[in-house]
Amino acid sequence: MNKEALYIVSKIKIAEILLIGCSAGGFSIIYDLVLNFPENFPLPVLIVIHRSRKYKSLIEEQLNLNSKLKVKMAEDKEQIKKGIVYFAPPDYHLLVEEGGSLSLDYSEPVLFCRPAIDATFQSAADVYKEKVIAVLLSGANEDGAEGIAYVSELNGLTVVQDPDFAEMRTMPQAAIEKANVDLILNNLQITELMNEINQVKNLLE
């Protein structure tokens, strides 16, 4: 069930961080979203994608060249800043610490995933509480569902890609079953939500 617009706007108003998680089938929408962010996008963005450590991936470099925001791989103990899109490095969990810094963690994979979307979403929710907007996209396993449910529990805004539009439906489907998700959106609507975040927050400034 999609919640009413006023409620969504009130969540956007207080938000301080945007989290995005995806796995198989979600890369192209990640590209689109990151390239669509305007220069003054009002929130820092943390992105967790599942990728193999075996192949050096150039996602950050490529996106950084073409995006209006700075795009980089997250570093241990760096302070989270708006205007930057941080990607979880392959093979490490990306965690959010009190005071809004990042840390990396090499503990066991979660559901065979490292980085795990759950780990990032949970730790971000612990620190930012209701000021989180979490978006979960396409994927072939159930990572992210716990994370979305915890964000929802702490009253953050939860957004899940409509499984009918996702290339792999397992991940969004699992989240919808586990959590009382605020918004279930198709790709176009997700882009529109990003634009709305931008407008609402920048109007407030």
């Binding site: 490490y92 840390s103 730790s123």
Partner: protein, 274 residues
């Protein structure tokens, strides 16, 4: 049930305080998000609430021993980050080939895979007989495994792949014997090694080293604790000794960085120069 709900960050703080008060182990310099994940894991394993966790820590030293074993992240591999070992072989070991003694300190060695990887490289460069390798960790259980040098056969596939990727032309199987589902590291690689407890938070300098390798340990520490530990390493290195950090760990502090020269920027290998 949501696992992250089992304990709040405030309660994590209480546990850290309790452990310091009752047992003198100081985890206040550890990254909280990571500690919380470990405590949640323990609570799930032991099926306990926060209240029960606290009372068991206070009243049951056997339970605390297990707690201590689980609170640290011990995941490791042989030749983890093959590029690092390649750099070690090409840029560090040739430099040490003229040294009469090579003392290596592997701090946070976990179950020993990293230390035995060092041992293999030293052996391949004909330096092993002149070398001595100290492996230290805060966790007594992993040190027992390290001493034994016996590992699960299933892990050897990944280890071998890493070894090959590090630029070796041999087979890792030269260095262990397999029996059933376990492998045992050759005793010739064990003879110049010593594993013992050392807590990087509270213990000090105990020897002078040509190489210190502390990889994937500092990421669990706050910036302040990282700096303190890096200073301990500085103090423990001989002039022109080498410091090896994990692939996500580097000398951030400028004052400290000035005392080192960068040997490999990607693999985070440094040499003490002043």
């Amino acid at each position: 049930m949501l696992t992250a709900k089992l304990i709040s960050l405030e309660q994590v703080e209480e546990i850290i305080g309790l452990v310091a008060k009752v047992y003198g182990f100081d985890f206040s310099g550890y990254s909280r998000a990571s500690i919380k994940r470990r405590i949640v894991r323990i609570m799930l394993m032991k099926q306990v609430t926060v209240f029960e966790l606290k009372s068991q820590i206070i009243n049951d030293s056997g339970f605390f021993e297990e707690f201590l074993q689980e609170i640290t992240v011990n995941v490791t591999e042989m030749f983890r980050d093959p590029g690092f070992f390649k750099a070690l072989r090409e840029k560090v070991l040739p430099y040490l080939s003229t040294y009469p003694r090579i003392k290596v300190w592997n701090a946070g060695c976990s179950t020993g895979e990293e230390l035995y990887s060092f041992a293999i490289l030293l052996a391949e460069e004909n330096l092993y007989d002149r070398s001595f390798l100290y492996g230290t960790d805060i966790n007594p259980l992993v040190l027992e495994t390290a001493k034994r040098g016996i590992y699960d056969l299933k892990k050897m596939k990944q280890n071998s792949e890493n070894y090959i990727a590090s630029g070796s032309i041999r087979s890792l199987a030269n260095y262990y014997v397999a029996h059933y589902d376990a492998v045992s590291i050759n005793s010739s690689l064990k003879k110049n090694t010593l594993f013992s407890m050392h807590n990087l938070v509270t213990d000090g300098v105990f020897n002078e080293f040509q190489i210190i390798s502390c990889r994937n340990v500092l990421i669990y520490f706050t910036v302040e604790l990282q700096e303190r530990v890096l200073n301990l390493f500085y103090e423990s290195l001989c002039p022109l000794g080498f410091l090896c950090l994990g692939s996500k760990e580097f000398l951030r502090n400028e004052e400290l960085a000035r005392k080192f020269r960068v040997i490999d920027k990607i693999e985070n290998i440094y040499q003490k120069i002043e």
